[in-house]
């Protein structure tokens, strides 16, 4: 239907939303296209989320023709002087074509170590439009920065880690994207979500919602989330365009591996404190349940503010945890592993920053923690890759996607029992490098909760064929 009034109609970008001005609220039902509009009385215009830009602009243009002025900034093109990408493998080409065919909106699911980054770089080189790469942590963000520099000789902008330097190709983290997308949401034509399972969280999803980008690419090895929110990726990014099964990757690109569980015992003092804490907690909970049958840990936390007994039980619980993760015996086991694998590169994952620093101070080996700055990260990773550092200790920051070449031995001391973490950690050890078998050690305290967590870790299908042996 034609627009009758001669007032100009304008579509503009406003802090992560689109404003359609020049139309009264009574005309709302006449707007063709998806019904995503809401009347905003505060500014006297129609408003919708920026994510709908691709869908509404065509519908609006059809309906209003030249009387519509589209003032939404257009992402600029990117001219790459150099494109130097390795030749894509057939599976990578298949993935790229499937995504292009899906109007450049969709997810590519490939196991760790099968070259997702190369597919994304190829997509950027092909689309030649302002692009934003969103990564889970700073290490990965910097890694993308390096890969873009190597592939295109392009010094990408960085938003995050205290920097806010927006360029036609920019890298950022999910947290920074959530904060800054309202401001930069109209600047990019292509969004790349690395480890896309981080996106659907209640807040982080706004990074996708507040952007006008018409092209979107999600990458992950493990899209599933225990809260089922991964279903929303279908509209936040686009439906799955390509999925490579894990079985196909194993054997072809990933190495064979062993999983070795090493139980450690607490020393006498630790065990005594540990048992005392366990008894205190059990006694407290049991005595509460006599009066309140459904008494849970959450109730305990709630009461801990006003009830000294509950607070003591809570403290006992935290003490138990810290005994588990920092048991002195673990450092001795590490020494044994170092002796056993003398001359090999070893990665160590700890459950806390404090434990990582403890290992580092004992053996004088480098760490990568969440607050390690860019220059040191690079120096440590490069030296580790070159074999100059025999060991690298990391807290959770290396869990996902950070390229660590040539590591054949990994040790997990402490950590939570989620399926995804296990897969990501295996991905680290299993990168294809020659024929040597990789080994993953799990150091867990015996007679503690950690044993249960270790069992849960092994339930993941990534652990289906491991060899279990005791040292």
């Amino acid at each position: 239907m034609a627009h009758i009034s001669n007032k100009p109609i304008s579509l503009s970008f406003n802090r992560g939303t689109l404003l359609l001005a020049g139309i009264g609220c009574e005309q709302l039902p006449e707007i063709s296209g998806p019904s995503v509009w809401a009347w905003d009385n505060r500014v006297g215009a129609l408003r919708c989320d920026a994510i709908h830009y691709a869908a509404i602009r065509a519908a609006l243009a059809r309906q209003f023709g030249p009387s519509l002025s589209d003032e939404v900034p257009k992402p600029c093109g990117v001219h790459l002087h150099k494109v130097e990408l390795p030749k894509l493998r057939p599976s990578q080409i298949e993935a790229l074509e499937a995504w292009s065919k899906a109007d450049c909106r969709g997810q590519i699911i490939m196991p760790t170590g099968t070259g997702k980054t190369e597919v994304a770089l190829a997509a950027m080189a092909r689309r030649k439009i302002a692009s934003l790469v969103v990564a889970p942590v700073r290490d990965l963000m910097y890694q993308w920065h390096r890969r873009i520099l190597a592939a295109f000789d392009y010094d990408a902008g960085i938003v995050g880690d205290g920097l806010s330097n927006i360029k036609p190709i920019t890298v950022t983290t999910y947290d920074s994207a959530y904060i800054h997308m309202a401001k930069m949401g109209a600047g990019f034509g292509l969004l790349i979500f690395d480890e896309e399972h981080h996106l659907p969280g209640k807040c982080r999803r706004e990074a996708a919602i507040l952007s006008t980008a018409t092209m979107r690419l999600g990458l992950t090895a493990t899209p599933e989330r225990s809260d089922n929110l991964h279903k929303d990726l279908d509209w936040l990014i686009g439906p799955v365009a390509y999925r490579m099964p894990f079985k196909q990757a194993e054997g072809s690109m990933l190495a064979n591996f062993d999983v070795v569980r090493i139980p450690v015992t607490l020393n006498q003092r630790e065990q005594a404190t540990y048992d005392q804490c366990s008894r205190a907690i059990r006694y407290f909970i049991l005595s509460r349940r006599k009066e309140q049958p459904g008494y849970t840990w959450r109730d305990l936390c709630k009461e801990s503010g006003s009830d000294p007994q509950a607070r003591h039980a809570q403290k006992a619980y935290y003490l138990k945890n810290s005994i588990e993760s920092r048991a002195a015996e673990k450092l001795r086991v590490l020494e044994d592993i170092f002796r056993l694998h003398k001359g090999q590169q070893i990665l160590i994952f700890t459950g806390s920053n404090a434990m990582a620093i403890e290992v580092s101070r004992r053996f004088l080996v480098p760490t990568i923690l969440s607050h390690t700055r860019k220059r040191e990260r690079l120096a440590v990773l490069e030296n580790f890759a070159a074999g100059a550092f025999p060991v690298l200790v990391a807290n959770r920051v290396l869990d996902e996607g950070v390229d660590v070449p040539e590591a054949k031995v990994a040790v997990v001391i402490g950590g939570q029992g989620s399926v995804r973490q296990a897969k990501q950690r295996l991905g680290r050890v299993l990168r294809r490098t020659g024929s040597a078998r990789a080994t993953l050690y799990e150091v867990v305290c015996e007679n503690t909760k950690e044993v249960q967590r270790s069992r849960k870790r092994r339930r993941s299908d990534a652990y289906e064929r491991p060899v279990h042996r005791r040292v």
Binding site: C203, L364, H371
Partner: protein, 405 residues
């Protein structure tokens, strides 16, 4: 401000009640606050984690103190502290140096044997010799850039124990607002300040007049009309201290609980929270006082309406300083302008253009007039004080203009 991990709030029958330490319920906390301040005041040179441990042990035998409250105190104390950071990257250099030197001795073992001969203690002692520093100092500096290991340099502190507790109470309100999806203020006074600070906090507003000089102002962000979002919770939190410094208001914030249900946080100026911001510009009220005194209840058929009136057109608002009403119904709004730059004038003119169907009189001190500045219609220039006679003249002029046309 606190982090959401430090927020303590109880949800009861759809109401949010934040943790609050008052004279009547927590008189003994004044002592704790004094001791906490003393720990930081005497804490120069001590590591952040040591200070935190000490604050923790202060409350070891206090039955009424959740862990989060202690963590919140640590945060508020840290907020007023300067710790020695490592801007030159000394720790980084030391680490890379030490680790590189030690590589060829890897692994450092507890008990050397024929295969592995590098005794941990011996190698460390040798390193200390090479670097010319005692090992304890090297170990201290090795992670000197990690926040927990940084030593306190200076503590700017709080005025006294009750200032710390007041700050704590307001900080808990702010942290609770991180969960807020919208905020509504019903205001009778200080409208100008409320709107100005909301604008600074990047909030949008929607104004409804409830009665003479009583308004309901709904604050939210752009995306709030589309979906419920906690995106603007931080903006509400930033705005709160300004609101607490004002008078004549009631506030309701709509929150999401951790169980995804809704709850309300209700607050008003009579709840007795103390803002760390000063009350709105004293100038306004003292000027108002003196003008009201001079003017009296009625003057030549004119009445001075002391309560403010808001003119609003979407996000543009105009809150005049005074409203005058003549018995024939004529209403004139008076705005007293402190300065008079071309940019400000242009901005003011654009705003007034939106409200051109209202009668607005602008008073400007002549010392802030630029030479050759254009003085438009309805502009009253005054020397040091606004004289009643010239004001009456101007009001009459506007009134008769209306009658003549």
């Amino acid at each position: 401000m606190l982090t959401s991990d430090q927020s303590i709030v109880e949800f009861k029958a759809g109401r949010a009640i934040t943790d609050r330490l008052t004279q009547s319920t927590h008189r003994h906390y004044v002592k704790y606050a004094e001791r906490m301040l003393a720990i930081y005041r005497d804490g120069q040179g001590r590591q952040r984690r040591q200070l935190h441990r000490e604050i923790n042990s202060l409350f070891a035998d206090e039955p009424d103190c959740p862990v989060r409250r202690i963590q919140a105190f640590c945060k508020l104390l840290d907020d007023r502290s300067i710790f020695r950071t490592d801007p030159d990257g000394k720790a980084t250099k030391l680490r890379l140096d030490v680790f590189s030197r030690v590589t060829r001795f890897h692994p450092l073992v507890e008990k050397p044997d024929q295969l592995f001969e590098h005794d941990e203690r011996k190698i460390k002692a040798q390193l200390a010799d090479d670097l010319g520093l005692p090992w304890s100092e090297i170990e201290q500096g090795l992670y000197g850039d990690v926040m927990a290991y940084q030593p306190l340099e200076r503590f700017e502190g709080y005025l006294d124990a009750s200032a710390l507790l007041s700050r704590y109470n307001v900080a808990q309100l702010q942290a609770c607002l991180y969960r807020a999806e919208s905020m509504t203020v019903v205001a009778t006074d200080d409208l100008k300040t409320i709107l100005r600070y909301a604008k600074l906090a990047k909030l949008l507003h929607d104004i409804v007049r409830l009665g003479p000089s009583k308004y309901r102002i709904a604050f939210s962000g752009p995306a709030s009309v589309l979906r419920q979002t906690r995106r603007y919770g931080v903006n509400f939190a930033k705005f709160l201290p300004a609101l607490l410094a004002c008078k004549g208001w009631q506030m309701t914030a709509l929150l999401k609980t951790p169980w995804n249900t809704s709850a309300k946080l209700n607050l008003s100026d009579s709840d007795g929270f103390t803002s760390h911001l000063p009350p709105p510009d004293e100038f306004d009220s003292s000027l108002e006082e003196s003008l009201a005194r001079k003017f009296g209840p009625e003057h030549d058929g004119w009445q001075l309406i002391r309560e403010g009136e808001i003119l609003h057109n979407h996000q543009k608002t105009f809150v005049p300083d005074f409203t005058f009403r003549h018995e024939d119904g004529t209403q004139v709004l008076l705005e007293i302008v402190g300065f008079w730059t071309p940019e400000y004038l242009a901005h003011k003119r654009r705003t007034l253009q939106l409200f051109r169907h209202h009668k607005i009189l602008i008073a400007v001190p002549d010392k802030s007039l630029r030479e050759g500045a254009h003085i438009g219609k309805n502009v009253l220039v005054y020397k040091t004080v606004l004289k009643l006679t010239s004001l009456m003249e101007a009001l009459e002029k506007i009134r008769t203009e209306k009658n003549s046309c």
